[in-house]
Subunit: 129 residues, 2 copies
DNA sequence: AGCAACTATTACGTAAAAGTCAATAAAGAT
DNA sequence: ATCTTTATTGACTTTTACGTAATAGTTGCT
């Protein structure tokens, strides 16, 4: 039946510690169910964890991450709330687009550096021969 | 002559505090010249600062940022060093590519959420009319 | 039943990246 | 020459995101 995961199964899968998972729970980012005092992680918890880790890779703070995840819930029924949500989405998207630009620039620069490394290497082997 | 910038000019331009600039200096990320005890930032310092801030936007630590900036210097003359540098470049590029993927996924999800917001809004105005 | 291995809770510690505050010192304005 | 900004140094504080015990309860295995 229930495909629950224990805390260590999850830590092994994603290479983090139990402390980290409990910390995320304290911060309200993830809410596993309990069997007695033991934590059991559902597939949906695992999915949330993936979102958290993706956010971390992007350099978001845990606060920002939970904001983003919050956006994924059922959209609110009231027009004002909807407008606010859409503004948040927009802001977050803007931030991400900036990151895209930053990354592309950086990769281009790294490509250039690599190129000059190759040139340098070629010079070295020329000298040797 | 010399188009030096004072520390406050720089903080105003980039929206940070003097404390931050001095901290970056302590960490060896930037090295303004001195006139007496006063700091004077050259255009090249300003450029470095831009690189630092771009790195921050990407969620890199100051340590990682100085590693990246280090890569931009004249490539070393020795083959072994060159190989090491190229490996570092490769690793950093891999990291950046992962971030690209992460960002694109996230943007797509946000687009979807926005779409459902619009749908919801349309429903609301239908009801009102 | 007994022991190892896993888990939970609580509390204190730490590293990174600054913020805040106080005490000078120097430079420009009047 | 004095007054007022502006800058420097140094020390202490804060926030985020965990790490590290210490202690205790629980489960699985034999």
């Amino acid at each position: 039946m229930a495909d629950y995961l224990t805390i260590t199964e999850l830590t092994n899968e994603f290479g983090l510690t139990t402390r980290t998972l409990r910390f995320y729970e304290d911060e309200g980012l993830i809410k596993p169910v309990r069997r007695g005092r033991q934590r059991l992680y559902r597939p949906s918890d695992r999915t949330r964890l993936k979102l958290i880790l993706r956010g971390k890779r992007l350099g978001l703070s845990l606060g920002e991450i939970s904001e983003v995840i919050d956006m994924y819930r059922q959209p609110p029924g009231e027009a004002g709330q909807l407008a606010m949500l859409m503004e948040k989405i927009d802001a977050r998207r803007k931030d991400l687009r900036q990151k895209l630009v930053d990354i592309e620039e950086t990769i281009a620069e790294l490509d250039a550096v690599e190129e000059s490394c190759r040139t340098r290497l070629a010079e070295l082997s020329d000298i040797k021969s």
